[in-house]
């Protein structure tokens, strides 16, 4: 079971990373980040079958933190939408040099 769980977790994590790198919509990028975090949660749960509850405690911690991050992140995305009427990163390019 461990090997399969870790493989799925690695695949999910990779999908998340690729999504962050190729998608240009801020909300979809954020969803891909959440996918990465949940892929890691799967690894933690798989490991905790062998090492005890520590991994499961970590999962609860990650979920709490991800919720806090989502609250802040969506607020930031709304604030940029108010300025630009878009959340597409290609159009968000004031800062460069």
């Amino acid at each position: 079971m461990l090997a399969e769980s870790l493989a799925i977790s690695a695949v999910l994590f990779t999908i998340g990373v690729v999504g962050v790198l190729i998608r240009r919509n801020a909300i979809i990028i954020f969803m891909c980040v959440e996918l990465m975090l949940n892929a890691v949660n799967l690894s933690f749960v798989a490991f905790s079958r062998y090492y005890g509850a520590e991994g499961q405690v970590f999962v609860l911690l990650v979920m709490t933190v991800a919720a806090a991050e989502a609250a802040v992140g969506l607020a930031i995305i709304i604030s940029i939408f108010r300025h630009r009427q878009t959340v597409n990163l290609q159009n968000i390019n004031l800062l460069k040099g």
């Binding site: 954020f30 490991f47 802040v72």
Partner: protein, 510 residues
């Protein structure tokens, strides 16, 4: 006194300074939500926040005087933690002082901005205290979530919103790497406790396992994003340029110091025995970061961007201390953080003083002839630039900071001569942009259409003067600070020795 962290009361004692800051910040948050938003309230909350920081600093001084230590546990009680905390608190006080004047000028009346800085600082103190990967993660996130908001503090500014978005997306992305690294290290070692990982990674079977190597690599990428090492630095210049200037100072000084403090602790406490696996990559990251940061900084016209690339270069210098990994190097590391924090705060203080509402007067050319209209301000800026450069005498402790890093590189059991050479060569390159600012201020005439320099707020004056005086004065007497940071280098060797044998040694290390 030796604290036993399995007893709840003693765990609370060990974590009390951090909890004092968190609790105080929550009370201030209630206070700021209770009253209608106003300029006066913003200042009052700012002053109360500074008083809270000083109180926490005094508490920490009391803990240092008591000389507590702890055995194996989730929280470290050692001088490394206390010294790092003092550096964060200095940066926090400077940031809040600058914010009070800056927010008044920009019309930001939200008093919560100071409270968010306090929350971020409590996250940093948690990071410095962490001796368990769970606490590491928790501290990093408490800090990051607060700083994402701070970067977007100026709601009316489009640049500020864009900086917040970029910082948030890349910060969350790097958190993913950090977390996956933690998961794989946990999978390889079977524990999240740093000291226990340190014991186990040396054992045959775990030492060279693919899971451990990939875990360390992912952790390195995660920390690389957080401290802005090249090639993971691309977010830093944009975010530093767009964020409100005092917050930029906070990110460049305190956030970087905190990320490095936890980076060093994880690396030397958990992965010291696996140094074959990471020494090469860390070595190359240091070289690439020093070269890229300094060379790109030469081309910058905007002073905030220039300081952003300079902060990337400094991350490279500090990474040299991580690559060396001896106790002398961690002492030099702490001294460097202190010197860098004060010089960065001061330099951003000067930028806050000269900036105009809405972000004008940020080009290096705007500083032309500053010497003729504001000689003291120009002199202070020269001190900060020379301190960042590491110039002797006029650069104060900046010189000793680099000197000790180089010295620890050359005197390590495995001398890092090549790294020291790269450090010196790239420092010479950095003279190109630091001295350019000094040259523009002192040797160019004030341009015809130059805007008159406005009166400077009292708190901004305080930050600039205090940092300049401390940099020069401590540069004359560096040994007093060095003794203080050297004690932080002697981190207790709990991982390798049996607990009972290690404890007496801990209690004498003050």
């Amino acid at each position: 006194m030796i604290l036993d962290l399995s007893i709840p009361g003693q765990l609370i004692t060990a974590f009390a300074p951090d909890m004092l800051l968190m609790g105080g910040a929550m009370i201030l948050l209630l206070w700021s939500a209770w009253r209608p938003e106003s300029e006066a309230l913003q200042r009052n909350i700012g002053i109360a926040s500074i008083i809270l920081c000083v109180t926490v600093g005094v508490t920490i001084a009391y803990y240092v005087a008591r000389g507590d230590s702890s055995g194996v546990g989730v929280i470290a009680v050692d001088n490394f933690r206390w010294t790092a905390d003092i550096v964060f608190l200095i940066a926090t006080i400077g940031t809040i002082a600058l914010s009070m004047d800056y927010n008044a000028r920009e019309g930001i009346t939200a008093p919560e901005s100071h409270v968010l800085v306090l929350f971020a600082t409590s996250g940093m103190m948690t990071m410095a205290a962490a001796r368990d990967l769970m606490i590491v993660f928790l501290g990093v996130e408490i800090m990051s979530v607060a700083v994402y908001v701070l970067a977007g503090l100026d709601r009316r500014s489009e640049k500020s919103a864009e900086a917040a978005l970029k910082y948030f997306l890349l910060g969350a992305f790097s958190t993913g790497f950090l977390l996956y690294g933690i998961a794989l290290v946990y999978g390889a070692a079977g524990t999240t406790n740093l000291s226990l990982i340190g014991e186990r990674v040396g054992q045959p079977g775990i030492a060279g396992s693919a899971m451990l190597i990939v875990g360390i690599a992912l952790l390195l990428i995660g920390f690389g994003f957080k401290v802005a090492l090249a090639p993971f630095h691309m977010w830093a210049p944009d975010v530093y340029e767009g964020a409100p200037t005092p917050i930029t100072a906070y990110m460049a000084a305190a956030v970087k110091a905190a990320a490095f403090a936890v980076f060093l602790r994880v690396w030397l406490e958990a992965f010291a025995t696996a140094s074959d696996a990471w020494h090469g990559p860390v070595w190359w990251l240091a070289v690439v970061t020093m070269a890229a940061g300094n060379i790109i900084a030469l081309a910058q016209k905007n002073i905030k961007r220039m300081l952003a690339y300079s902060s990337i270069a400094h991350a490279g210098y500090i990474l040299v201390a991580v690559a060396i990994g001896t106790p002398a190097a961690s002492a030099a590391f702490m001294f460097y953080l202190l010197a860098y924090t004060m010089a960065t705060l001061g330099a951003f203080g000067v930028i806050v003083a000269l900036e105009r509402r809405g972000g004008g007067q940020l080009q290096i050319e705007d500083y032309a002839g500053l010497w003729t209209v504001r000689p003291w301000l120009a002199a202070a800026m020269a001190v900060f630039m020379l301190a960042l450069l590491g110039f002797p005498i006029f650069g104060g402790i900046g010189f000793f900071a680099k000197y000790w890093i180089i010295q620890s590189a050359l005197q390590a059991p495995a001398p890092q001569t090549l790294l020291a050479v790269v450090l010196v060569l790239t420092s010479v390159v950095s003279a190109g942009y630091y001295l350019h600012v000094v040259m523009v201020m002192f040797m160019r005439p004030r341009s015809e259409g130059a805007v008159a320099v406005p009166p400077i707020g009292g708190w901004t004056r305080f930050v600039i003067a205090a940092s300049a005086i401390l940099i020069v004065a401590l540069g004359i007497l560096p040994n007093s600070v060095a003794r203080w940071t050297q004690r932080s280098g002697n981190r207790p060797p709990v991982a390798t020795a049996p607990v009972a044998a290690a404890l007496p040694a801990n209690s004498t290390v003050r």
